[in-house]
């Protein structure tokens, strides 16, 4: 048992199994597809087989006249465009005039059953006139006539969507005066979330004229807003319900066309319409990590002090904007930690191409640049003759400081992260000293814990929680923070259990229904624990005040002396004076009715610079990581097999160490996928491998042993000191593995994934280039770094 200091057996710092776990493992959890409403029609989407084509005509008459077909909808200029960011609402529910990627939605069909709906889709006649395909990011930068632009309304005369230029200090001068410079051109293919539950939605225009939408989403609020826009209804006429979600990872953080199509079909038929994707449709919908070309230079002085970072990212956005403007900033600005340097230049460009859209994916925007940066840091360390861990320690941002671009750094446990993994891994006796084919590498990470500024500029709190306690004593917590498997319901329950000193069985969380539960902006940017956790804590503190006042009335002692713990309201100066929780509840509600309270998280304190884009990447606090990875590399086959990872993550305070460990291990698995084998491939502009057989996710057999080190820097503003643990822990695994590969066989991998054929090619290249290697047992062929 963990020793506990908390007020509750399931409070802060306790290893609490996720409260929705039993329903999932017993099969009783209700996902969207499990919902069966009377009279539900099956919705199917006719998708474009062309990557870029004009729609000359659509003839739906044959489909509409089929028995069992209840409605067919197609695109219209009368429908508003939408999109998660107000600055790039470039998405349409159904294609208007042209299609811009293979899989683009052309028509929606609602029918009595799936076979009929599919047959109706086949019966729709669409005449296309193919347009030139913009397949590669470089091609998208070329000037082109307006009709060859994917989105003719954009300001550039090419398919460039967004360009970011930022410049701090004097990068050219810093590089000119540097003792050592490392440069590299890195290439990253796209990867996708590969969550278990395919997208699914049910829309029902009820006889009252109100629209209810059940959807597997991590952003019910943004869905709510965009449904209002597209359906041309005020928000109060729409109810959004988020059933149990089977994983998301950013892949369900946009409002989607299928959600709009289901609503349109329900409006036409007056019946519930369900659209459930097959796996191929999930791949076509994508919104995964962007294919990226990253050119990077890093400079340091002779003592290994970092002087500057020069970064350029060309980001292939696919067909739509999605979160892409944010991605464009994040590829640059999330590189300003955890190291301090005074000169930074960044050019980021995101382009539209005729491919399924890219969007936010766990570690959004930070993963690829972080990989490039951390790999080059190892090169610099080697050039300076400084140990790679020591080099990092010398360059850390301290806590309570400001980065060169104005990020406010408060709690920061990077140094402890590094020290702990270096010690646990026995780094000093392994680095540079393992036999050829075995190596060890280190890397760090840095990530936001919620976006300080909201997407839609208004004064609605970023998160609100409502609490209610009636005479049964059970505590209901209402908050729309989207539980997507990451454990946010459990987190909310723990925060409340901690404040009220109750076992978690007394807490019930309602986080699904926009009619009942107050707004939380959603599960993205690693914001939920920090923001919703604070909201829930504050609401519970209001209730605690009422219970303490009730206990004071019952005992005659002063209310300020009371606190809630272990199912009682206890007078701290003499804990023998205590009132059972239920007695305090009854006293508190006497003559007043149920206890009700609310708590909010509004905004972080004012922060940030005044340059263009200064708000991007601002967060009320940041998480930090350092991992050491030990790997085997088979020099004859090129297979990279990580054997052990020591993963240290500063999450401020682990509200639930069990959940933090699960997040770190999950991040690590996902990051290893991108590092070793995952590749969202294309055959021209068609997704090449739209199945779980061909899109290679590592299995349990590919997982290394993982030793998690939770570092607690106790954030001053986080709930009970907590900050994020869901995304940052993905960042260091990729470069720490690449750096371990370099230690093992002396090659630098500039391209992900590190498939065996690529690794072997690099090994052979190196062997050809180097003189004959002495194959004696005694001589270690690796260059030793002191």
């Amino acid at each position: 048992m963990t020793p506990r200091e908390s007020r509750s057996p399931h409070g802060v710092g306790q290893r609490v199994p996720l409260i929705d776990g039993p329903s999932k493992v017993t099969g009783s959890a209700v996902y969207t597809d499990d919902i069966r409403l009377p009279g539900t029609l099956v919705g199917k989407i006719l998708r474009s087989p062309h990557a870029h084509a004009k729609i000359v005509s659509i003839d739906t008459s044959a489909a509409e006249s089929m028995p069992g077909v209840r409605a067919v909808v197609t695109g219209s200029r009368d429908l508003r465009t939408f999109g998660v960011l107000p600055i790039s609402k470039d998405e349409v529910a159904l294609a208007v005039d042209k299609v811009i990627y293979v899989g683009d939605c052309v028509a929606g069909v609602a029918a009595d059953d799936e076979e009929t709906a599919l047959a109706a889709c086949e019966a729709i006649r669409v005449e296309y006139e193919p347009l030139p395909i913009v397949g590669k990011a470089d091609d998208a930068l070329k000037e082109c006539p307006p009709e060859q632009k994917l989105h003719p309304g954009t300001r550039h005369s090419s398919n460039l969507q967004k360009q970011v230029d930022q410049n701090f200090g004097d990068v050219d001068a810093a590089f000119a005066g540097a003792d050592h410079v490392a440069k590299g051109n890195f290439r990253f293919v796209g990867v996708t979330h590969a969550f278990t539950e395919p997208h699914c939605v049910i829309a029902h225009f009820e006889p009252t004229g109100r629209l209810t939408v059940w959807s597997a989403t991590q952003v019910p609020h943004y869905l709510h807003r965009d449904l209002a826009a597209v359906m041309d209804l005020p928000m109060h006429r729409i109810r959004v319900i988020r059933p149990m979600v089977g994983g998301a990872f950013g892949g369900k953080s946009d409002p989607f066309p299928h959600e709009m199509i289901a609503a349109l079909l329900s409006r036409r038929t007056g019946r519930p319409v369900k659209i459930r994707f097959d796996r191929e449709e999930v791949f076509l919908t994508n919104h995964g990590r962007h294919p990226t070309k990253t050119s990077i230079g890093v400079a340091c002085d002779g003592n290994g002090k970092l002087l500057g970072l020069d970064l350029d990212a060309l980001i292939d956005g696919g067909a739509w904007g999605s979160f892409g403007v944010v991605t464009t900033y994040y590829n640059g600005v999330l590189s300003v930690g955890p190291y301090r340097f005074d000169n930074f230049r960044y050019r980021g460009r995101r382009v539209y191409t005729n491919k399924p859209p890219c969007g936010a994916m766990r570690g959004h925007g930070a993963v690829n640049s972080r990989f490039a940066f951390e790999v080059l840091i190892d090169e610099l360390a080697e050039k300076c003759g400084v140990d790679a861990a020591e080099f990092r320690l010398r360059n850390l941002l301290p806590p309570n400081t400001t980065t060169l671009n104005g990020f406010r750094i408060t709690s920061n446990g990077t140094e402890e992260c590094i020290r702990r993994v270096v010690e646990a891994s026995d780094w000093k006796s392994k680095r540079g000293k393992l036999p050829y084919g075995r190596g060890i590498g280190i890397a760090c990470g840095f990530y936001i814990s919620g976006s300080a500024l909201r997407i839609n500029w208004n004064k609605v709190p970023q998160s609100t929680a409502h609490l209610k306690i009636d005479m049964d004593g059970g505590v209901t917590v209402h908050c729309m923070a989207a539980e997507i498997g990451q454990g946010s319901d459990t987190m909310l329950a723990q925060c409340v259990a901690e404040v009220l000193g109750l076992p978690i069985e007394w807490i019930r969380v309602f986080s699904r229904d926009s009619d009942l539960d107050p707004i939380d902006l959603g599960s993205y940017s690693s914001r939920v624990t920090f923001m919703a956790g604070n909201a829930a804590r504050r609401a519970a503190e209001v209730i605690r005040g009422k219970l303490c006042a009730a206990a004071a009335r019952l005992t005659g002692y002063d209310a300020e002396g009371f606190d809630t713990r272990d199912g009682h309201v206890v007078w701290l100066p003499n804990p023998a004076i205590r009132v059972p929780y239920l007695d305090a509840v009854l006293e508190a509600i006497a003559g007043k009715g149920a206890l009700i309270a609310k708590g909010c998280y509004h905004d972080a304190p004012p922060m940030g610079g005044s340059h263009k884009g200064a708000a991007a990447g601002l967060s009320p606090t940041y998480s930090f990581q350092s991992y050491v990875t030990e790997t085997e590399v088979d020099p004859e086959t090129g297979f990279v097999k990580p054997v052990k990872v020591w993963a240290a993550h500063d999450c401020g305070k682990a509200l639930n160490p069990l959940a933090v460990e699960m997040q770190i291990e999950g991040c690590l698995h996902m990051g290893l996928g991108q590092a070793l084998m995952e590749s969202f491939g294309y055959n021209r502009a068609t997704v090449g491998n739209p199945s779980f057989l061909d899109y290679k996710i590592p299995g349990p057999l590919e997982m290394p042993d993982v030793e998690v080190h939770i570092v607690e820097s106790n954030d001053p503003e986080g709930p009970f000191g907590a900050k994020e643990a869901g995304e940052g822990p993905l960042l260091p695994i990729l470069p720490s593995l690449a750096n371990a590969v370099r230690d093992a066989v002396g090659i630098t991998m500039y391209e992900l994934p590190m498939t065996p054929d690529r690794v072997l090619k690099e090994i052979e290249k190196k062997e050809r280039a180097s003189a004959v290697r002495e194959a004696s047992e005694a001589a270690n062929p690796k260059e030793t770094v002191r």
Partner: protein, 331 residues
């Protein structure tokens, strides 16, 4: 995706199965064992037939003995059988390379030997094929891997043919005309569409392995991204016996997934009496030379070909040293 519709037949005997097949139109039915391969293709609408004859109730296809393994036996059962582990431990271990435990619980030996050839352009959904144009193995008459109309280059991707080949296994084929036996190394022929010498009305009812083979050291090694689920990008098997002086007495090798058919070569005559090191290098090089992978799986062609030599060389070294992969826990 919805399974293509079909009528399912479940005969209770081999005679019933064969007479049922005789009544159905030529090319109008498929046999089904575990269905782990066939039904996936039916979902993708790949050459689905109107009738499917299930063989799971045919008693003649069951049983595992020292002489014969019923083709209808589940892979997991075979791999766990004491007889197989004792006599052909290399086969028991090779089976653990097939797909995943769940699939091995359903998949049968016969089904594995007859696994549909695979190709990047073939194993795709109807929507995908609609965007790219279909290939000669599906709806069109053209190969998309090697553009021409004569040969289908879909890769033979079974894991068990190589190991059974080096163990000199023989297949029992039953048809209304009677039963015939075909050596497994003479079974596969043709291309990605015309895959073997089995006629449509024939069933593989059993696999016989000669008693002599239980005295061989034999094993299988597999190249793939993941250590479960994936089909082979390349697979190789070998069987070895050394004489009292440590020289080659018997040496056979086989590969899979590097051509439209598996390759089997008996090097015994050529290598008898040779030093293992020399023989192994020559055998590995010869099998690499024969391999002709095409660009229709996940890994690059050149790499798959090159790995024949590496994997086979290592396998032979392991066989000489008596090393297994340790995939089957010691009894």
């Amino acid at each position: 995706m919805i399974l293509a519709p079909f009528t399912l037949h479940r005969p209770e005997s081999l005679a019933d199965a064969l007479s049922l097949a005789a009544k159905l139109p030529d090319g109008g039915f498929d046999w089904i064992g575990g269905g782990t391969d066939l039904l996936q293709n039916y979902k993708n609408r790949l050459n689905a037939k109107d009738h499917v004859i299930a063989l799971d109730r045919v008693p003649e296809m069951r049983g595992i003995s020292a002489e014969r393994i019923g083709a209808g036996e589940r892979l997991a059962v075979i791999s766990e059988s004491a007889v197989v582990r004792e006599r052909w431990p290399g086969l028991a271990e090779a089976i653990t390379h097939v797909a995943s435990p769940l699939i091995r619980n359903s998949g049968t030996l016969g089904g594995n030997l007859l696994v549909e050839t695979r190709c990047y352009y073939f194993n795709q959904t109807p929507f995908w094929r609609g965007t790219k144009g279909s290939c000669m193995k599906a709806e069109s008459d053209e190969c998309l891997v090697v553009p021409q109309k004569e040969i289908c280059y879909a890769a033979y991707s079974g894991d068990l043919a190589p190991i059974l080949g080096v163990l000199s296994a023989t297949l029992e084929l039953a048809s209304p005309a009677g039963t015939r036996e075909v050596r497994i190394d003479e079974f596969y022929a043709g291309d990605g569409i015309h895959k073997n010498v089995k006629r449509a009305d024939e069933i593989i009812v059993g696999v016989k392995v000669p008693a002599e083979s239980s005295t061989l050291r034999a094993g299988y090694r597999k190249l793939r991204h993941r250590d479960a689920l994936d089909y082979p990008e390349m697979g190789c098997a070998a069987a070895l016996r050394l004489d009292a002086s440590g020289r080659i007495e018997l040496l056979r090798a086989a590969t899979t997934a590097v051509d439209v058919v598996p390759h089997f070569v008996d090097f015994t005559e050529q290598m008898r009496g040779q030093e293992p090191d020399t023989a192994f290098a020559e055998v590995a090089a010869a099998m690499e030379e024969r391999a002709q992978p095409k660009k229709n799986t996940s890994m690059p062609v050149g790499y798959r070909k090159k790995m024949v030599r590496v994997y086979l060389g290592r396998l032979l070294d392991d066989l000489r040293a008596g090393r297994t992969e340790g995939r089957i826990p010691a009894a």
